[in-house]
Symmetry: C2
Subunit: 292 residues, 2 copies
């Protein structure tokens, strides 16, 4: 049993409920069923614990959407919606983490956490930007900040709604809804009816050089592996078939407990095609524990 993971999960649960400061290491220990001292073999301090929590969950939630974005099979508008949908599904799955995250209150703003938050925000915005420009072309640029900001507001508040209320908002409906609202607003801007309020200058704090080094190394590697695999597939004559296989891998990998055997099988299909073998191997290494 992975005790480290168990501690992370128990901690998330407790912190989501009562907040960081009102959750003591003792309570976490009790909840996992180990002694307080034991926690300190896994995490050097309470602050390191919460940082680890963020590291553990953030990419889980965000990576899902990223991978969907790579697949060129869907038309842009639907793909955008699908990405939100997948994001919302992730939120539902990691409800407690999200609750904790939204409470916001954590260690007295450590350097490390702040950097991470900053990077996540930047990542979100650059993802939104990519999608907006994909949908509306470069003309949207002057309005991009306004649109991105509103999208982010609405997205965040629906997230809040999902995790607090018992009501079951359907992720796919929410995704479509969101994209539809963005579309209406974008078209209004493009028709020249409204003028933008936000610009690069005032949004500087939110535009992050995405090349920055950080805590997401492993994520970045996986990101690249996906990307290059999808690229190779698109060059392939039988791309449709391999896309289907890869999408199935993506779907499986998004589950909280992916079926390893299924994934090995799917990867085997890809690797049997010589031109894809190498890339598939790379991704497999990123997603699955080394087979012994």
């Amino acid at each position: 049993m992975d005790k480290r993971k168990a501690i992370l999960e128990a901690a998330v649960e407790l912190i989501a409920e009562k907040g960081y400061t009102h959750t003591s290491m003792q309570q976490i220990a009790d909840s996992v069923g180990v002694s307080k001292g034991s926690l300190y073999t896994f995490f050097p301090s309470k602050e390191d614990l919460i940082i680890s929590i963020y590291e553990h969950y953030q990419q889980l939630v965000f990576e899902r959407a990223f991978v969907v974005g790579l697949d060129g099979n869907l038309p842009p508008y639907e793909r955008f919606a699908k990405q939100f949908q997948v994001q919302f599904e992730g939120i539902l799955e990691y409800k407690s983490y999200m609750k904790m995250h939204m409470r916001g209150e954590s260690a007295q703003s450590s350097e490390k956490l702040e950097g991470m938050g900053h990077r996540m925000r930047g990542r979100l915005f650059s993802w939104l930007e990519r999608n907006l420009i994909g949908l509306y072309g470069e003309e949207i640029t002057p309005y991009k900040w306004d649109l991105m900001w509103m999208t982010q507001s609405i997205y965040t508040s629906y997230t809040g709604l999902m995790i607090t209320s018992e009501s079951d908002l359907a992720p796919d409906q929410l995704g479509k809804h969101l994209v539809r609202q963005i579309d209406i607003l974008a078209k209004d801007y493009l028709s020249g009816n409204s003028s933008p309020l936000l610009d690069d200058e005032m949004m500087r704090p939110f535009s992050v050089g995405m090349d920055r080094e950080g805590a997401f190394t492993s994520f970045a590697k996986r990101e690249n592996a996906w990307k290059s695999l999808y690229e190779s597939i698109h060059q392939h004559k039988q791309s449709n078939y391999y896309l289907e296989v890869t999408d199935r891998i993506s779907e499986e990998s998004r589950k909280s407990t992916p079926d390893e055997i299924v994934m090995r099988g799917l990867f085997h299909l890809l690797k049997s095609e010589e031109t894809l073998s190498e890339k598939a191997q790379l991704l497999e290494e990123q997603l699955l524990p080394p087979s012994n």
Copy 2:
């Protein structure tokens, strides 16, 4: 000098910056320049202190918009925008309080604070509802929750932007912007292009019976005083003149340090008209300290 107020202000400042748990009573005392013991002559506990902060500021921020809403002089659309504008101006004025509020982290969710938050949310929603129905009529009802929710998201996130970034977003522009976005979305709903996602059932936690008893007694009294004064004025043949005077009072009362003499003079004008005298007197008592 009002020491109680000084303590509240110092506390807000510190808590906005470092959070509730990381601000000690000692630090607050030091910052005001009194001893720790002294704090306890004004506030029985740290928790009472933060509750008093909320009580002190919340109505300041919200009441502004309410009063603008009473004046029937402006056309609905502009009035709506003006209300947001006034709200945003308030936010700018009480930046630190807003920062503190948005941090969210406070005493381990006391009954009293939770109730207050709930009431504020309810108040916001019922205010939005009134405005939406005023603008679009009863037909908007099926879409009201979606619209209100989105409005609230965007509003909140612009609030956040105002208080964090140094950039000077102009409250009047923001107000217009917000109402314009709402309008676009509302028209889309009314044209039958989109269907709503939220309904009464799932939004029940947000619909508050506004008749509930609470911490806003003094606010409620003032609210009624305004309301009945405006009503009387509208029945008056020379209503335009008196509206102008009353609007001027409203404007003055919104300032952080209203000019008492000016207000006394304005009230005098109203009171000299017999049919308004009584209502004006009532409001004056609510807004100004008893003249000795």
